[in-house]
């Protein structure tokens, strides 16, 4: 008999029927009577002072209801408490091409566009800072006052110099990982409406309704209790809808100013400028090694090009250092990282948030180390793997860890050992591993509150309703919440309905980011369901003639353990329980354990559990054109437990897809501050033709703290794919890919050079090391030694 009725079974998404029939209502599908259309006026310059704005010609146009400028919305905000550096409309200075300076509300889109064009804006241009090197020059024009280094971090765990002295061999490498954007199919959309009682309701395609709720309150100067935020089903997020964006605040302000509902939908070009995507990053790595193939020290430096605003960037900076040591036992580790402001659209979190760049660098670096030392690249990793239930050098608490099994299975399935260095010219295989967090262990703003809360109710018909703040962005959170509650209560998914992401109706979930929803909202839902089960068991136990702990919930019935004949239908049991308890409702909550290490900055990286992945990629490189075709990717992922294998495989395949784009095609590039190709045709993403075959291998390590043992799968599987492709290209044609995307032009130049010897694509000089003084941090093993009196 299977352990579970639903958990572990492949089932279609609960929202699939709405999506295949076109009845799911996304934000852009909503309309209210009398609604006005909002268009933003955006800066054509990357950096300038606003000298004058004259809205009069726009206001004179028939059909224009209101114009707002920066003076109307002065309050600064930002997603992180440490970087409150944005304004809904710029008051004095514009900092990137696309920075909004004014907004129009008019009867329709065409009128709003005409009016926006009539608004006169005079600028005094300032010199623009467009690269990391530019930003670090002392003479650079400050973008936010002060220097352009927004954040610099320097942490050392143990003593890297000592580790390198103990090394028989050391190597450094320099890498560049270009920026890319989320390119969700749905353009950001918002609808804002004030009721006659002054309550604002705002529907938005957001991954983080709770943070939007807070920022709306701050910027509009209204208490949160007067604002209701509803997140609509999100048509693709990938991190791009996890920041509060200007149009959401402006639409609300225009609704207040006009007394009409206001709708705003960004154009595709505006979405490219809204961005908040992958930070371009320069990465430098040095490691030391013993003759036995064990690492003695890791020194990692990262330089991030942050764009014009803070966004999540302080967290991103820490993330570039926090998860690099997750997969290996590193005796000594130094991390130095910085993020600069530049006059380009702000970068932020994109699938993997700050970890794909250093992971790419580290795994390519290890491929070179293995070659230098004469090790098989898989064996080199195996000798250094993190152990389950152990701390990392930087105080991450690793619990369940199926990385070794992931490696074994992906290597066996792909035939890596038979293929590596043995395929014909132009074909190659590459290997890499990675790890990722199942939800950030600390909230964005400090508090002791749960990260996720769930309410359950039961109606007189026995229908269960889940109330959760979590929003489904395509990852399948609705399906997971329903499945775990149904499993605990012995019901079918059809017996359960769901109300999500409505701040007036649902308790808080912090948002669909950092791979946290299955783990945190899942745990909260399990707890709520267990409490509901206990309520019902207590009420029906006398009828069944057994103590409450011997009441079983299965197949839509509540029964006495060991005697299936003594049972009530679920609905009858609920009626009995309601008569005993009054209203049937139960709540659950999840707060991650406090896991921060003993140092400043240790709040980024801790998680209740980590997923692990191992990947082999096989590629064919056309040496005439420099084009790379990824033919197949084998991806083994330690998911803890696959609650719904169909959804897990979808997350793995989607991660592989996005990684192929970042490895080979996608680039958020600029020319003098303007986007180099702000359209879906010019921004090259993989089509069906470029998608490789994927073999997904799920490894179940059954995490002790995950819901039914589950861990994350939405982001982790992206991480090893990019370096595996880079290593495969080297195996195929002997060109080291130290920079992505590895576009044909770059590869072709390197292949031409390769005729005379080793060749690579990648940066040649690191930016200045402006990281500041290093903070020394004791390691967990130092703590153990001190405790033991050594």
């Amino acid at each position: 008999m299977p352990e579970f009725a639903l958990i572990g079974r492949a089932r279609p998404r609960v929202d699939a029927a709405g999506k295949v029939t076109g009845t799911t209502r996304y934000a852009d599908d909503l309309a209210l009577p009398g609604q006005l259309w909002c268009t933003l006026v955006r800066s054509p310059l990357p950096h300038a002072r606003i000298v004058r704005i004259d809205p009069a010609p726009a206001l004179a146009l028939e059909g224009v209801a209101a114009v707002l400028t920066g003076g109307d919305l002065q309050t600064t905000y930002g997603i992180l408490p440490v970087s409150q550096d944005e304004q809904a409309l710029c008051a004095d200075t514009v900092r990137y091409v696309g920075d909004p300076v004014a907004a129009v509300a008019a009867v329709d889109e065409a009128t709003a566009a005409r009016a926006a064009a009539l608004i006169v804006v005079e600028y005094e241009p300032l010199s623009a800072v467009l690269s990391i090197e530019d930003a670090l020059r002392s003479a650079a024009e400050p973008i936010h006052g002060g220097g352009n280094v927004q954040k610099a971090v320097a942490l050392e765990f143990g003593d890297v110099a000592q580790g390198l002295r103990e090394a028989a061999y050391q190597r450094d490498d320099l890498f560049f990982y270009d920026g890319s954007t989320h390119l969700a199919m749905e353009e950001h959309a918002v609808l804002a409406s004030f009721a006659p009682d002054g309550i604002l309701t705002l529907w938005s395609s957001t991954q983080t309704p709770h943070y939007l709720h807070r920022v709306l309150s701050k910027v509009l100067g209204m208490p949160m209790s007067r604002i209701r935020v509803i997140a609509t089903p999100v048509g693709g997020g990938f991190g791009g809808k996890s920041d509060v964006l200007n149009h959401e605040l402006v639409a609300a302000a225009l609704a207040r100013a006009t007394g009409h509902p206001v709708k705003c939908v960004l154009t595709r070009e505006e979405v490219f400028y809204a961005h908040r995507g992958r930070h371009p990053a320069v990465i430098w790595i040095r490691t030391g090694w013993g003759r036995d193939g064990r690492v003695t020290a890791l020194h990692l430096r990262t330089w991030l090009d942050g764009g014009a605003y803070g966004s999540y960037g302080v967290a991103t900076t820490y993330y570039t250092g926090a998860l690099a040591p997750l997969t290996y036992r590193i005796p000594h580790y130094r991390f130095e990282g910085l993020r600069v402001f530049t006059n380009k659209p702000a970068c932020g979190p994109k699938r993997g948030h700050g970890t794909p760049q250093p992971r790419f660098a580290l795994e390519c670096h290890l491929d070179k180390v293995a070659e230098d030392l004469g090790f098989d690249p898989v064996e080199l990793r195996r000798r250094n793997l993190v152990a389950p239930f152990s701390p990392t050098v930087n105080w991450l608490r690793v619990t369940s860890c199926g990385l070794a099994e992931c490696i074994d299975r992906v290597v066996a399935a792909s035939g890596f050992a038979q293929k590596h260095r043995r395929l014909p010219p132009g074909r190659g295989v590459g290997f890499a591993v990675s790890g990722y967090l199942s939800g950030a262990g600390l909230p964005i703003y400090w508090n002791d509150l749960p990260h996720s809360e769930v309410h359950l109710t039961v109606d007189r018909g026995g229908r269960v309703c889940i109330f959760s703040g979590a929003i489904d962005i395509g990852q399948g959170s609705d399906s997971i919440l329903i499945a775990v509650v149904a499993e605990v209560l012995g019901l079918q998914p059809e017996d359960i309905q769901l109300v999500t992401a409505d701040t007036a109706l649902t308790p808080v979930d912090l948002g669909s980011y950092s791979s946290r929803v299955t783990f945190m909202a899942g745990n909260a839902a399990v707890q709520a369901a267990q409490r509901m089960r206990a309520l019902i068991a207590r009420a029906v136990a006398p009828r069944l003639g057994v103590p409450p702990e011997e009441v079983r919930f299965a197949d839509g019935h509540v029964a006495a353990a060991g005697d299936g004949a003594r049972r009530l239908r679920w609905q009858e049991a609920c009626t009995v329980a309601e008569a005993v308890h009054g209203t049937l409702s139960a709540s659950g909550a999840y707060t991650p354990p406090k896991l921060a290490g003993p140092y400043r900055g240790s709040g980024v990286g801790p998680s209740a559990a980590y997923s692990f992945s191992a990947c082999v990629a096989e590629v064919a490189v056309d040496e005439e054109t420099g084009e790379v075709q990824v033919e197949k990717v084998w991806l083994a992922h330690d998911i803890g437990r696959a609650l719904n294998p169909l959804l897990v495989a979808g997350q793995v395949e989607g991660s592989v897809y996005m990684a192929v784009g970042e490895a080979l095609f996608e680039r958020q590039g600029y020319r003098r501050g303007a986007h180099a190709g702000p359209s879906m045709l010019e921004y090259k993403s993989p089509t069906m033709y470029e998608m490789p075959a994927v073999e997904t291998i799920l490894v179940e390590s059954i995490d002790p703290e995950g819901p039914f043992g589950a861990k994350e799968c939405g982001q982790g599987p992206l991480l090893p794919v990019v370096p595996a492709i880079a290593n495969a290209i080297y195996d195929a044609v002997g060109v080291r890919v130290d920079e992505v995307p590895a576009t044909p032009d770059k590869l072709l130049r390197a292949l031409t050079r390769a005729k005379g010897g080793p060749a690579r694509i990648g940066p040649t000089a690191a930016p200045p090391a402006a990281f500041g003084p290093v903070t020394k941090v004791r390691r967990p093993e130092d703590e153990d030694a001190a405790a033991a009196g050594i």
Partner: protein
Amino acid sequence: MGERLALSVNGRLRELVAPVSTTLLEVLREDLGLTGTKHGCELGECGACTVLIDGAPALACLVLPVEVQGKEITTVEGLADGALHPLQRAFMDHGALQCGYCTSGFLLAAKALLDRTPSPTREEITEALSGNLCRCTGYLRIVEAVEAAARVPHA
């Protein structure tokens, strides 16, 4: 000010008045309330607004309604005929959708393919659907779903 239009949409004649420059996508979504057809770029680059015009796939954001009067327009709302179309069922069962924003475009492009090529090869499916972008699934399950739907015997 506008043009008087008579459009046959999902087998029903719909009459409306709209400015002549309004696209079919805008008319479907805003005048006829058929919001299942999605708006992804309005430049003919993403495929999210794919509809069928006399059975052939077309990008509704690039079509002017006056061009398609007298032709039969099919949107995702017209796909299920009492029961779900085999493609809709297969997309659900095979996990061929996640966020769902590209789904209606894919379904209609796939329907056009299956209507003219009932048992397509993988290459034919790729060719027919490569103009539709999806950022969630990596496409593999969409191909599988189309193959599965092609195996369903038509009543």
